[in-house]
Symmetry: C2
Subunit: 222 residues, 2 copies
């Protein structure tokens, strides 16, 4: 069986879970405690990161960007990276935006400080980082809302990896109650469409010990 080593609130892991489900590729989830630095895990992925996908053949694929490019090449049905060169540039640009800029400015400052830091035993959240994270959220919600209002999906006419990258980050932040959906109705409407997809179910059903998500988290009509 295909195995995805992950952490439940890692947006990068969530993006890969969504892509695997959209492509109808069955997989088993394994939570990887990175702080244990397991030798067997490091042998496959010396960077000691999640997600890492291990195919039934034994092929180990670390890094969510590498995994998504691999899945698109190995399983081209349900294409998520676009067809023309221009579409592919726009989709990858937005994936880089969410996994790079959005992650740095928002997710890392909030999910990273509140959750990841505690899990790896690196102390309390940094107040400056939290402030920066909260200050940056609304501009990003506006940008997503602008894309959602001007296009059918975030990168254009078709649902793509850009939507899943964005939704993965927002879902992690939403779990810890850090998204105020009233700030951007178009973003909320787009996210409601994402949430109602079957691929989203397992993510909405995830519960992390000791952290209770807000009531609207798994609600499709929030």
């Amino acid at each position: 069986m295909r195995i995805l080593h992950h952490l439940p609130l890692s947006p990068f892991s969530r993006k890969v879970r969504l892509v695997l489900s959209e492509k109808r590729l069955p997989f088993e989830l394994r939570t990887e405690k990175l702080s244990e630095r397991r030798p067997e895990y490091l042998a496959l992925n010396p960077a000691n990161t999640v997600p890492m996908l291990v195919e039934e053949s034994g092929l180990a694929i670390p890094d969510s960007g590498v995994i998504c490019e691999y899945l698109e090449e190995a399983y081209p049905d349900t294409p998520l990276l676009g067809r023309t060169l221009g579409e592919r540039v726009e989709i990858r640009r937005l994936v880089a935006w969410f996994d790079g800029k959005f992650n740095l400015e928002v997710t890392r400052n909030l999910v990273g400080e509140k959750i990841t830091k505690r899990m790896v035993g690196r102390g309390n959240p940094d107040a400056g980082a939290l402030r920066a994270g909260y200050a940056n959220v609304s501009g990003h919600l506006d940008y997503i809302g602008w894309l959602a209002e001007n296009r059918k999906w975030l990168a254009g006419a078709n649902l793509s990896l850009a939507d899943f990258a964005a939704a993965a980050h927002l879902s992690s932040l939403d779990y810890i109650g850090d998204i105020d959906w009233s700030l951007s109705p178009p973003t909320r409407d787009w996210y409601a469409r994402m949430k109602s997809r079957p691929s989203f179910r397992s993510i909405l059903n995830d519960r992390i010990t000791g952290i209770v998500p807000p009531p609207h988290y798994a609600d499709l009509d929030f």
Copy 2:
């Protein structure tokens, strides 16, 4: 004419310059002062980052990862991402390693603190970051040396984007004198092979006002 907006010491810009040259695609370099936040630049690349490639058709492609995937698809001659799925995973894994982990642990702490920070007017280098950068270099040189000793090129039998990603980071660090080549003879031998490629010439000829590289920087027999 194809235009690459860049910064001379950005390893991400250097990687794209190397790839364009290897693929024999002519281009013009434009230094982009990101701190000016030019509206015309932001319109094409709201993330306000270098590199950004603008094709003659007007297609604007930001982010070095997006650019390299685009170039491979648009100009498949001189392939740099491998042929089999396994080769492509290994090449992209190493590119993610150098542009992610290596950049975070080494380049950002040294080139970022000493050069980029000054250029964008964000003050003096942070002593802790410099210490971390210096502490992390030697382990990374060992890893590159291990790859170079066990494989013909870093990702396997063929020269690939992994070699250019690694060489781009090392060349930026070498310009500011922060690589002690005696630490890893196999890394030095591999880098000597990279340096002697015609695609490397323009990078070795770059000079940044006010920063003189060490004498060995452009020397092919260093």
